[in-house]
């Protein structure tokens, strides 16, 4: 009999409504979702279905209009922006489609950025940065600037930045969207490797090639979970 383990992420009845002068946009409606520690989950769906909105809620970049969000046993749906930032620094690692490295900072400085915001001391930061860059195979480019790296290398640096602080969960938004197939495969292999090492990954992607890498796919359509989810679909 399997022991019941509390999920790392639990969304219950989550909705997100955007208000403008004339229009109310229901970006997400009635989302119930659980992700367990160590899971590799993909969120998929057509353009405009609310994937990015869902990711922003999961990453505490925004807060839900309705419903509850519990992260690692702590309710986080009603935090202030400052509180969300603190939790985000400790628990979330982001990998963006557009890499989002800061061009005026070196590779080292980009990777250490979230560790600085977390308040980690200098020596400890240096060690974490070196470890993360070694994991992605870019320690030899530590003093280079993003502009001196290829797209694939930049995304790997972004992955290093995301994992340097050993976050509870990695959130990846179309990580291969700006890469050619070879570089994209390299990044996806890196993510698979991280998952095998125990990382919890939640990824948004269109690309059907990468759906199979995940243990579970969550489908969104018009801001709602597709009728098929959330079902476990074990991947052999």
């Amino acid at each position: 009999m399997a022991l019941a383990i509390d999920p790392l992420i639990r969304l219950a009845g989550v909705s997100k409504i955007f208000h403008t002068k004339e229009v109310e946009t229901h970006a997400l409606s009635g989302i119930d979702l659980e992700i367990r520690a160590g899971e590799y989950v993909v969120i998929s769906g057509p353009s405009g279905c609310g994937k990015t909105t869902l990711l922003s809620l999961l990453g505490l970049l925004d807060s839900p209009s309705e419903g509850s969000y519990v992260l690692a046993g702590e309710p986080v749906s009603s935090l202030t922006p400052a509180q969300r930032a603190r939790v985000r620094a400790r628990t979330i690692g982001f990998i963006f489609q557009a890499f989002n490295l800061i061009g005026d900072l070196t590779v080292f400085q980009n990777v250490e950025l979230p560790l600085k915001y977390r308040g980690m001391r200098g020596a400890e930061r240096r060690g974490a940065v070196h470890e993360a860059l070694e994991r992605v195979g870019l320690l030899h480019r530590i003093h280079h600037y993003p502009g001196q790296l290829s797209g694939g290398q930049q995304q790997r640096v972004a992955v290093a930045r995301a994992v340097a602080g050993h976050p509870l969960v990695l959130l990846a938004d179309e990580p291969t969207g700006n890469l050619d197939s070879q570089n994209g495969s390299q990044v996806m292999d890196l993510l698979a490797e991280l998952h095998q090492q125990g990382a919890t990954i939640c990824m948004v992607t269109h690309d059907p090639r990468y759906l199979k890498q995940a243990q579970r796919t969550i489908y969104l359509f018009d801001g709602r979970l597709d009728g098929r989810g959330p079902f476990h679909r074990e991947v052999a």
């Binding site: 930032a85 985000r88 400790r90 989002n100 950025l113 930049q154 179309e174 700006n178």
Partner: protein, 809 residues
């Protein structure tokens, strides 16, 4: 030309699509070009406009010197110099005076000049009406002719073209109007409104010891100034040998008249021009920053133009044309503003700045405005134009991954802001130094109490008051009426009140050799007994004058502390005697008993050191003194209430003695002090205004670049927030950026200010040009304003939505 016109039309259209931007630039330029043009018009009129004479650089000021200091000629020395000289075409004496002009209207006291008959020939100016003086009219008895200025002719005589041959009364003497000078001569060397011949008597020509003449000269063609100076040195040696008593330690020197007239104002005016130029530079830096930001947002448009064939030259020309359109609009508006600006400067500027009234927006000033406009357009346009032309077409047209820094670290724009802050600090410190100087000047104790004292001048015409006794009696009567007038707390007469120009004499303290080398030069004041009480000058030792100090009694004098120290160092001067003025009938020195010592009065101006002064009772004044004083005295009345009410008391006291005499130059002592501070206050006020404007522009510059940076770095800021940065950390990052810019700007500005404020040394009073508190206050003020300017966009940055990090566009 077609391309230029097309670019011009494109530029106008493009600017019309951005009305806020265009208006901001044009208004900034209009304000700065208008201010610069206004100041230039004053500088040009005072310092550079050609005097309305023939070959003005050839008119020389010929002066006697005494102990190396330039002074005036005596009539005798001038006559001997003219006789001995071989090199001058003209050597003309002139002296300022005031004359009572009487026509059908009420008598009026006017500024006049007594001149040699060839005065207008020296200037090379022909009259607008009538003729100039003939040599035979420059003799006593034949000198009852007068030439009017254009201004007096219009204001007093209604521009009557039948004025020639008309008789007017000057100091009671009938004189014939023989000419009217043109309006171009309305700038006068001595502020005179009419000219009369000198008419020296043989007795005056024989006098070598009274120095009051200004002498102008023009050399013969081909004669160099060096040769003339050498000849004059020989003549001075000859005069010293022939008249050792009167000419010891005297020399003769030459200088150019047009330079001497403005020497005291050159530094002040050029400082103002430099300061307003700095403001314009700051404005150009701001506009350049705006244009750089604008070109960045139009990168795609430029890339498309390049992709379809536009060469770099085309792109630069187009961008520059836009800058020049802005400059032209700003320059045109600025020139219009300058029309008012010049009027305001003339209206509120100190009256004693020579030729200030002639400042106007004329052809040279318009040319300056046009050049300035073009220069400004190039200055702020060239960098953005070159930048916009260096983009590679493919960079703007391709899509792909990006790093979050687009334009946030623009070195050129940062350098412009640093330069703005540096220039602003220079202006602020300059203004601060002048303000401190003005405060110090206003705090100076003048040595008398100016409040509630009204002063006015009265001149007794020589035609009516022909002997010293008649003059003395008339003034004694006026003094009596004044002192008895109801409403006057105290009243007195004095030859020249403080801050009025006066004459000096050489004094020899008893016990020293009675020769020129022992003489102390001291200012003379002839006073009635109530003078010290009226002016509230403090008696330090001894006594003041009484009614017993009159003709026939012991001759007495009162001296100031400065003269006491020089004449009797370390001794009590009371009871000692000093020789001055006219000798005794037997030729022995005219010794006078020192009966009192009063405090020093800053009679030469609040920024000047006190000069040695001595006072003689009017009842004992030497007969010759009335000639030195031009038979003119100042009436001073102290009241409890409004001192202006004393004007009627003065007029009544004078008309009780002679109904034909006007009282003129009526002003309170407070107003006279304020007027004496006029040039200082004028330049302080303007430099302060420029400093404030520079501060505002620098703040706008800092705000602009930080704000633009925040906009450009929005993605980066979103990333930082997404990665865990708190709002206050983002705010701190942005403010630090502004602080670094401000810090570098202040450092550069500090070094620049330390170098440039030394140029203000001659304008400062009791303040060092590197005064640390002034520099510190300027730096703190600028730093505070810069940080506040950075704070607004920093607060905006801290509120960026971190979701923006997920947006990929």
């Amino acid at each position: 030309m077609d391309t230029l016109l097309r670019d011009f039309r494109l530029a106008v259209r493009s600017l019309r699509r951005s009305p806020t931007f265009s208006l901001a630039v044009i208004l900034t330029l209009a304000l700065c070009i208008g201010a610069t043009t206004s100041i230039f018009s004053v500088v040009y009129a005072v310092l550079f406009r050609r005097l309305p004479y023939t070959d003005p650089s050839g008119i020389l000021l010929v002066r006697e010197t005494w102990r190396g200091q330039p002074g005036s000629f005596s009539v005798g020395n001038w006559a001997d110099t003219k006789r001995a000289d071989q090199l001058f075409q003209h050597l003309v004496p002139l002296r300022g005076t005031r004359l009572n002009l009487a026509t059908e209207n009420a008598p009026e006291n006017v500024d006049a000049a007594r001149v040699g008959s060839d005065f207008f020939d020296l200037l090379g100016v022909r009259p607008a009406l009538g003729r100039v003086f003939q040599p035979e009219e420059d003799r006593p008895g034949s000198d009852n002719v007068v030439i009017l200025s254009d201004r007096l002719w219009r204001e007093r005589f209604g521009a009557d073209r039948g004025i020639i041959g008309r008789s007017v009364r000057l100091d009671g003497r009938p004189c014939t109007v023989i000419g009217v000078m043109p309006a171009s001569l309305d700038f006068f060397i001595m502020g005179e409104q009419l000219w009369v011949p000198n008419g020296f008597t043989p007795e005056q020509v024989a006098m070598h010891d009274e120095h009051y003449l200004t002498v102008l000269g023009r050399l013969k063609p081909g004669v160099t100034r060096g040769a003339a100076q050498a000849e004059l040195a020989q003549i001075a040696t000859s005069l010293r040998e022939r008249y050792p008593r009167d000419n010891q330690e005297r020399g003769i020197t030459l200088s150019q008249l047009d330079r001497e007239l403005v020497r005291g104002y050159r530094a002040r005016l050029l400082t103002l021009l430099g300061a307003v130029g700095f403001v314009l530079l700051i404005a150009c830096a701001n506009i350049a920053n705006l244009l750089l930001a604008r070109s960045a947002t139009r990168g795609r448009e430029t890339a498309i133009r390049a992709a379809v064939g536009a060469g770099r030259g085309h792109l630069v020309q187009q961008a520059l044309t836009e800058s020049l359109v802005l400059a032209l609009a700003g320059g045109a508006a600025g020139t219009i503003l300058a029309l008012w600006g010049v009027r305001a400067l003339v209206a509120f500027g100190p009256a004693d700045i020579p030729r200030l009234v002639s400042a106007r927006v004329d052809t040279p000033v318009l040319a300056f405005a046009v050049l300035l406009t073009g220069f400004s357009g190039l200055l702020f346009g060239v960098a953005p134009a070159l930048r916009s032309s260096t983009r590679f077409p493919q960079d703007a047209l391709k899509e792909g991954g990006r790093t979050g820094h687009a334009g946030g670290r623009d070195r050129l724009r940062h350098a412009l802001v640093v330069a703005e802050i540096a220039l602003a600090l220079v202006l602020l410190t300059g203004a601060g130094l002048l303000i401190r100087s003005a405060v110090a000047l206003n705090s100076v104790d003048p040595g008398f109490e100016p409040k509630h004292v009204l002063a006015g001048r009265v001149s007794l015409p020589a035609s009516t008051y022909q002997t010293p006794d008649q003059v003395s009696q008339a003034f004694t009567e006026i003094a009596r009426h004044l002192e008895q007038a109801r409403g006057a707390d105290a009243a007195a007469l004095v030859s020249t009140a403080p801050l009025e120009a006066g004459g000096s004499n050489g004094l020899v303290p008893e016990g020293r050799p009675y020769e020129v080398s022992s003489a102390i030069d001291a200012m003379l004041r002839v006073v009635t007994p109530g003078y010290f009480q009226t002016m509230r000058i403090t008696l330090k030792r001894g006594r003041t004058f009484t009614e017993q100090d009159r003709a026939g009694t012991q001759k007495v004098m009162i001296i100031n502390e400065r003269l006491a120290r020089e004449a009797f160092p370390g001794q009590d001067p009371i009871g000692k005697r000093i020789a001055c003025c006219e000798p005794e009938p037997d030729g022995s020195p005219g010794l006078k008993l020192v009966v009192g010592v009063v405090n020093d009065v800053l009679a030469m101006g609040l920024s000047q050191e006190p000069y040695p002064e001595f006072y003689l009772p009017m009842a004992q004044s030497p007969k010759a003194a009335w000639h030195w004083l031009d038979q003119t005295m100042t009436l001073a009345v102290r009241t409890t209430g409004d001192p202006h009410a004393a004007a009627s008391l003065m007029r009544q006291a004078v008309t009780a003695v002679d109904r034909t005499l006007p009282v003129y130059n009526i002003a309170t002592m407070d107003d006279r002090i304020t007027a004496s501070l006029g040039p200082s206050q004028f330049s302080t006020m303007l430099l302060t205004a420029f400093g404030v404007l520079a501060l505002l522009l620098a703040a706008i510059g800092v705000y602009g670049i930080i704000s633009y940076g925040v906009t450009q770095r929005t993605q980066e800021i979103g990333i930082r927030l997404a990665l865990g940065a708190q709002g206050h950390e983002v705010l701190g990052m942005i403010v630090r950026h502004g602080a670094v810019l401000a810090g570098v700007g202040l450092a550069v500005g500090l070094v620049t200010a330390l170098a440039l404020t030394r140029l203000l040394s001659t304008l400062l009073f009791q303040v060092s040009p590197t005064d640390p508190p002034t520099f510190a206050i300027g730096a703190v003020l600028l730093a505070t304003v810069a940080l506040l300017a950075a704070l607004l966009p920093a607060m905006r940055a801290s509120r960026v939505d971190p979701v923006i990090a997920l947006r990929y566009e």
